[in-house]
Amino acid sequence: MSFLVNLALGLLFGLGLVISGMSNPAKVLNFLDLFGTWDPSLAFVMGGAMLVAFIGYRLVLTRQKPIAADRFHLPAKSDIDLHILAGPAIFGIGWGLGGFCPGPALTALGLPAAGTAAFIPAMFIGMWAARLMSENLPRTSST
């Protein structure tokens, strides 16, 4: 059941990425190209998503617990450590190089493009390396 719900929600998310243009690296790179062929569309993607999520989260979080779990799993960390600066800095460089972030890259997985075929395995290797490193090394902050 949870598989099917997640499948439907992943599909909704993915259709949103495709319809919004976020799944097109050319559009993402133009959004990031402030001093060139700037395409501000993706600000509307962010705005639309935040508008719905800002209101929706407030409604949902008035509940005692979610429908299919015992409790809400919300990130508890609030400190600004090296991870929250270095990780996004590295992420942004990759985002600016390829125009893909993880969601759009996954929606592109089934479409024929050599660049996607190079990006996705490398992305999973990067994710795996970061997970193993952050789970094995002592964190810079006390958590």
């Binding site: 319809i19 935040m50 590295i90 969601g103 990067g126």
Partner: protein, 142 residues
């Protein structure tokens, strides 16, 4: 050049937001794609593998469902510079997990929760994204 598409982008964005809200309602989790995708690989700390797998399959089939429903193929232009794309993938994957989130987890879910960490993360990856494209297109490029 790509066309400015405020309406389609707003509607698509609202669908992304709705998916995030419904995931929170269903099982109380943040719709962070890097967290969902990154935990498809071992080691497994919980029993949510099948759920995460379902979400990722939904993302993968989305362009095909779009094609079936509307007859329009998803518009996509990907660089064919393979070493560049592989490097981009490594940076995106590593950075997203190292920073506990990506465009969805920090940019959409985190900002909507008014998380200070997500405001910092989103500001930093937008800044390095802008700088990278500036360097690639306007400094190295010409």
């Amino acid at each position: 050049m790509t066309d400015f598409t405020p309406l389609a982008s707003l509607i698509g964005g609202m669908m992304i937001g709705l998916s995030a809200v419904l995931l929170m309602l269903w099982e109380g989790r943040i719709a962070g794609i890097s967290g969902i995708a990154g935990r498809l690989l071992p080691p497994y700390r919980d029993r949510a593998f099948l759920s995460r797998f379902g979400f990722v399959i939904g993302l993968v089939v989305a362009p095909f469902v779009m094609m079936a429903l509307t007859g329009h193929a998803a518009e996509q232009t990907v660089s064919s510079n393979l070493p560049l794309m592989a490097a981009a993938g490594l940076f995106v994957g590593f950075g997203a997990i190292w920073g506990n989130g990506c465009t969805s987890g920090h940019g959409v879910c985190g900002l909507s929760r008014l998380s200070a960490r997500s405001f910092v993360a989103t500001g930093v990856f937008m800044a390095t994204g802008f700088i990278t494209v500036f360097l690639v297109r306007h400094v190295i490029g010409d």
